[in-house]
């Protein structure tokens, strides 16, 4: 298929996944902010829960270009509706739909209609409307539209190359997002890893798990208090948790194995290398390296994988 098409499709699904992840993150932040106590000492750097989404997405600088202080409404406006913020939910859904519009031929009509409908509804929303409907209802809507789109894709699309690139976009974005959330939550909200067991911790850990939709999974697997090392194991190493790094790399490795041919081996090799480290890794080792360092290393490898996918499939240079 056309490289251009593959690129548009990959970004289409990436943007849908991104919109969903942003909604999850903001939803948890919103719920946290309703709790009657503050998470950290006043004056601590990230005591304000509404700063967290900005740190995770790396958008704090952009935010402060437009605003002088943090407020729930301002962060929500910036992360949800700001058309000049390239990572807002609005922009993500708009770009997803734009990418789809250019490649309607590669999609089923149901996929296109679903995404187009999402965009038309998003475009018609304003802050007052979202607020009066309930912020959490809005986030549910975003999550549902993303579920729907993935479901329609899964349920209607021919299992061809286009399908592979669409899946690739989902899992690259998901791996990237889970690694970021884990990193930031760990190091900004909970500096003391030994300090576990209290109600505050319970909510903190719970919120992290909820933001990746893994709260119930944790209960089922561990049936015990939430601890940092178990969370790391759950979201990094376990491949039965759909948003874990391991599960995302399972998918990416499998897709790249399928796409690989004699002229295009490097993306598959690199994905295999990243996958092997997760597949055979142990949580003790992660903590020995340091979780932050480990995750930074992972993000760098995902970035490198991205570059290989680009040069081999999406933006090849033949001249």
């Amino acid at each position: 298929m056309l490289s251009h098409t593959a690129n548009d499709l990959l970004w289409m699904s990436r943007q849908v996944e991104r919109a969903e992840n942003t909604a999850r993150m903001l939803d948890v932040t919103y719920r946290m902010s309703l709790l009657p106590y503050r998470v950290m000492e006043p004056g601590e750097k990230w005591a304000e829960p509404w700063a967290v989404p900005l740190v995770i997405t790396g958008l704090a600088t952009e935010y402060y270009k437009r605003n002088s202080e943090i407020s729930p409404e301002k962060v929500l406006r910036f992360m949800v509706l700001d058309a000049t913020n390239p990572f807002s939910i609005y922009t993500s859904l708009q770009s997803a739909r734009e990418n789809a519009r250019g490649q309607r031929g590669a999609l089923t009509s149901e996929m296109w209609e679903s995404l187009n409908q999402t965009w038309l509804e998003m475009r018609a929303m304003d802050f007052a409307g979202i607020n009066s409907r309930g912020v959490s209802n809005f986030f549910d809507w975003v999550k549902n539209r993303s579920h729907l789109f993935r479901g329609v894709t899964f349920g209607t699309m021919l299992r061809d190359e286009a399908y592979s690139f669409i899946r690739m976009g989902t899992f690259i974005e998901r791996a990237d997002n889970t690694a970021r959330i884990l990193d930031v939550k760990y190091h900004t909200l909970l500096p003391s890893l030994t300090d576990v067991g209290g109600a505050v911790d319970y909510y903190q850990w719970g919120s992290l798990l909820r933001s990746v939709g893994a709260f119930e999974s944790y209960r089922k697997i561990y049936r015990d208090v939430i601890t940092p090392s178990r969370i790391a194991e759950l979201l990094i190493l376990r491949d039965d948790v759909p948003r874990s790094l391991h599960a995302s790399m399972n998918e990416l490795y499998e897709i790249l194995q399928m796409l690989s041919d004699s002229d295009r081996r490097e993306p598959e090799r690199l994905a295999g290398e990243i996958h092997a480290q997760l597949h055979y890794g142990r949580v003790e080792q992660i903590f020995k390296i340091g979780l932050h360092e480990y995750l930074l290393g992972f993000l760098a490898k995902i970035e490198a994988l991205n570059a290989e996918i680009n040069s081999h499939y999406l933006t090849p240079d033949y001249s």
């Binding site: 298929m1 031929g105 009509s109």
Partner: protein
Amino acid sequence: MDYSKKPLQAPHMATPAHDEMRAPDSSVFVHYQSYAAWLDSMPPEHLVQKRNEAETMFHRLGITFAVYGEEAGAERLIPFDIIPRIIPADHWQILEKGLAQRVRALNLFLADVYGEQRILTAGVIPREKVLANAQYRKEMQGVSVPGGTYAHISGVDIVCTGPGEFYVLEDNLRVPSGVSYMLENRKMMMRLFPELFARQSVAPVEHYPDVLLETLRGVAPIGVDDPTVALLTPGSYNSAYFEHTFLAQQMGIELVEGQDLFVRDDTVYMRTTRGPKRVDVIYRRIDDDFLDPEAFRPDSILGVPGLMRAYKAGRITLANAVGTGVADDKSMYIHVPEMVRFYLDEEPILKNVPTWQLSRKEDLQYVLEHLHQLVVKEVHGSGGYGMLVGPASTMTQRAEFRERIIAKPEKYIAQPTLALSTCPTFVEAGIAPRHVDLRPFVLSGKQIRIVPGGLTRVALKEGSLVVNSSQGGGTKDTWVLEA
């Protein structure tokens, strides 16, 4: 008959205009009777509901077009009228024959102009008029194209002034658009009113993409057995982008932009996820000027550097060919009946609208005296821009146009204001007659094929004769009844 020799009286000013459903005595023509009976039985609320349904559906499907001059990326719907335009089988037969004849002659003319130039040598058309035309591409002189076909896709604009009385307004031989609306309108009508299609036998149009693909594959460079066809689009900001994606999808071919193609050793390739892949036929929806920055406008970023080299080497077929504009230009229009006679030795079946050429002194004088009665068009204009509809114009508009004409008379032609036929149309005030035109699509390759129907455009404003979508026109489904 050469209309340009003498000043003409405008012959078609008769009012009221011919209505395609009702005769002047209000009786309903036979071909509309079944539909009219159904329409009479419909409560107005039902029609309103159906119209709203259609609008919602078009939005949901994303069938929109971009309007130049508005905010980048702004999308609008073309208003869709739920009352079909019905053409009886015998009228369609006239059109079909006439269109095939005309397009055959136009293709012969193009092959001749870029070849031996017999028609110029014979003095039928003045040589300098062709060779000095801005649309004449000297790069094409002596280049042979597969099967001698230049205009593979023609969208000939037709107006009707009486029962079975058709005039050609324009031959669009460059990158005519609108066929996606023909197809989507039909789909919409079948969705909204399935019962109507059981009442009478409407000729299908749905196979157009198949016929188009067959036509395109049939004109591949010699020696290519299983040609790869791609549709070249200027991109998502083009007003017809929806149509480009739609046709590519329907034909199952790749939709490419200039950057997706490259030329190596005079061969055109697409960049794919499996490496370079050769392309044999390009259905291009980009104007000549932008096709290849090496050959035409060097600032074009839409095109493919080296494409003309590959084209001249016979390694790729472009549809339509480069240089077709020399035959559909408004200054060449008046010569089309002569082309039919010269190449086919037949009398033209479809009439030309009498046309004054303002480069001629006596024509200019007549037109300036009768501006309030005539339609004045720019020779190179399109899309309803840069045109004056005399009877609908104000004094100020006429005065302004007069100055423009006097400054550059050769830039303009004038035609009588034809009383375009009307069709019943569902407007705010209810069902009322509105003026329509018709753009059937003629496909030329190994043979000429015309899907029965076309795009009917309707001027939604009462009395208006301007049907262009950029000027507030709408569209209707066009039914050709089977004999």
